[in-house]
Every structure is written in C-alpha cells, then in structure tokens.
C-alpha cells in the first residue's frame, strides 16, 4: 500500500506564469509518454513479474512516477495562476479553459484525454522490460522538447530534474532486463515466458 509524504520530491517554484507553456507541458501529465502512463504501466506490470528484483524495482519506480506526476501537476498549477481573460485568449489557453478552467486535467498536448491505450502490460517480463526502457526514452525526449520551447528558468530547473530521473530509470530497467535474461534457460531464450510457461 502507499504512504503519502506531504512534500514534492524536488521543489517547484515558478514566479512567471505562462499558460501557453502549460498547454505543452500538460502532455507529461496525461499524454502518451507522461508520468501517469509511466506509473500505471509499471505498477500494473509488476504483478506478472516472476522475480523479486523486478517486483521491487517496478513498484519503486512506479511509485516515483506518481511523485513526478505530482510535480508536473504543480508546474501546470503554478503556470496558470492569476490569469486575465485577455491573457487566456492571447496565449491560446481559451480552448482548455472553457472545459477545465484552471484545473489540471489528464490530457496530452493535443487535448486528447488520457487512455490506457498508451500503455501495454504484455505479461511477459522480457517484453514488458523492453517497453519500459522505451517508455523512459520517450519521456526523456519529451522533456528535451519542453526544454527546447521553454525560456522559463524556474520551469526548466524542475524539468531538468525530471529528465535526469528518466535516464536513471532507463539504467535500472536495463539492469533488470539483463538480470531476467541471465535467469532464463539459454536454450529457450525467446520461447519461454517465465511468468506463464513452467
């Protein structure tokens, strides 16, 4: 189960609002390669993992992604405070505001609502770990793109932290993949699914 600590993993302190940037960054909240996708994917995949190290790592990284989800939500919240109606229209935020005011809604930058179709839980540990490594790289690239379009130093500070964590998670999943492959029968390398076949 979960215990909640009432503090962000890394502080988010944004002084300059920017609703246009918020509309882009929201993709890391409810988009295909965002933190909600990551946490749901890992926390769901862990059940069919056959090895203790995999269960532990997926649980921990899935939990950390929830903490990142909270950070991204905080960024969106702080970027959209105290907006004037003129600013809302000028920054292209009107299409979001009519449906959500300044609430934080899980959607992609395109406006598409979050869907589990963004993730897969294939139930085969090698397959799932490959997806996890890809997911971390996709998230990192999305953060790279955010850094390309943002000139807000407060935002960039938090984004750089989140981007670094993606790289570290990629490393951990890589270690897990090697660990799982080492434990398999080398004769049946691609045929066996240790979660299902005995």
């Amino acid at each position: 189960m979960w215990i909640y600590q009432k503090q962000l993993q890394y502080p988010v302190r944004i002084t300059q609002t920017n609703p246009r940037l918020a509309k882009a960054i929201i993709t890391q909240y409810g988009g295909p390669d965002g933190e909600l996708s990551a946490s749901l994917r890992y926390l769901s995949q862990r059940y069919s993992m056959p090895y203790a190290e995999a269960k532990g790592t997926l649980t921990d990284i899935g939990t950390e992604e929830l903490a990142h989800l909270e950070m991204v939500g905080s960024i969106i919240y702080q970027l959209t405070r105290d907006l004037s109606p003129e600013e809302v229209v000028a920054k292209g935020f009107d299409t979001y505001l009519v449906d959500h005011t300044t609430g934080v809604y899980p959607q992609a930058a395109s406006g598409a609502p979050y869907t589990a179709a963004y993730i897969q839980v294939k139930g085969d540990p090698i397959t799932d770990l490959h997806e996890d490594m890809a997911a971390e790289m996709k998230a990192k690239t999305t953060y790279d793109n955010i850094l390309r379009i943002s000139d807000n130093p407060d935002v960039n500070d938090a984004i750089r932290f989140l981007r670094q964590r993606e790289i570290v998670h990629y490393q951990r999943f890589g270690e897990l993949l090697r660990l799982v492959q080492d434990k398999l029968d080398s004769k049946n390398f691609f045929a066996i699914n240790p979660s299902f076949d005995k």
């Binding site: 600590q5 269960k55 270690e175």
Partner: protein, 89 residues
C-alpha cells in the same frame, strides 16, 4: 563511493530534499544490487540520521539482515502467502 559522504564538509547544508533523495536513489540501486554492502551501509546511515524527518525512502524494520537488502524478498502483497494470517502458517 563509500567514503564520499563520510568526508563531506557540507553535510549541514543538505536540506530537506537532498538527503531523502539520495536515500531513495540508493534504494533503487539496491533493488538490483542486493549484495552491495557499501551502498547498504550508506543507505542505513542516511536512514538513521533522518529518522525523525519522516524520510520517504526509508523502510521500517529494514535492519533484519545486515549483509543484504531484503525489501525485494517475497512474498509481495498481491500474492496469496502475503495475505494469510500469521497463525495459519
């Protein structure tokens, strides 16, 4: 790596974010390197120091086995063995 934090002169400036984060990083690392006693020692050191601060990375009752990391041991909550009452063993 073991002696870096022991010799650091900047410990008092490690604010409320740095120590919990370092502890969490160690925990992630220990999941895939359960027999790394150096990292385990550092993890336990951070946990003892930050006990009163409700450090999110520290697990209670983690001192059972001094030479390895035991958080990842079976059973896990979704498995049947974890849901049997103790007297039924």
């Amino acid at each position: 790596m073991c002696n870096n934090c022991n010799n650091c002169n900047n410990r008092n400036n490690c604010d409320d974010y740095a120590i919990p984060f370092a502890t969490w990083e160690l925990r992630l690392y220990l999941n895939t390197h359960p027999n790394d006693t150096c990292a385990l020692e550092l993890y336990r050191k951070f946990c003892t120091e930050s006990q009163e601060k409700n450090n999110y990375a520290c697990l209670p009752n983690n001192d059972c086995n001094p030479s390895r990391w035991s958080w990842t041991d079976d059973p896990w909550p979704w498995e049947v063995q974890a849901n049997r009452p103790a007297w039924e063993e």
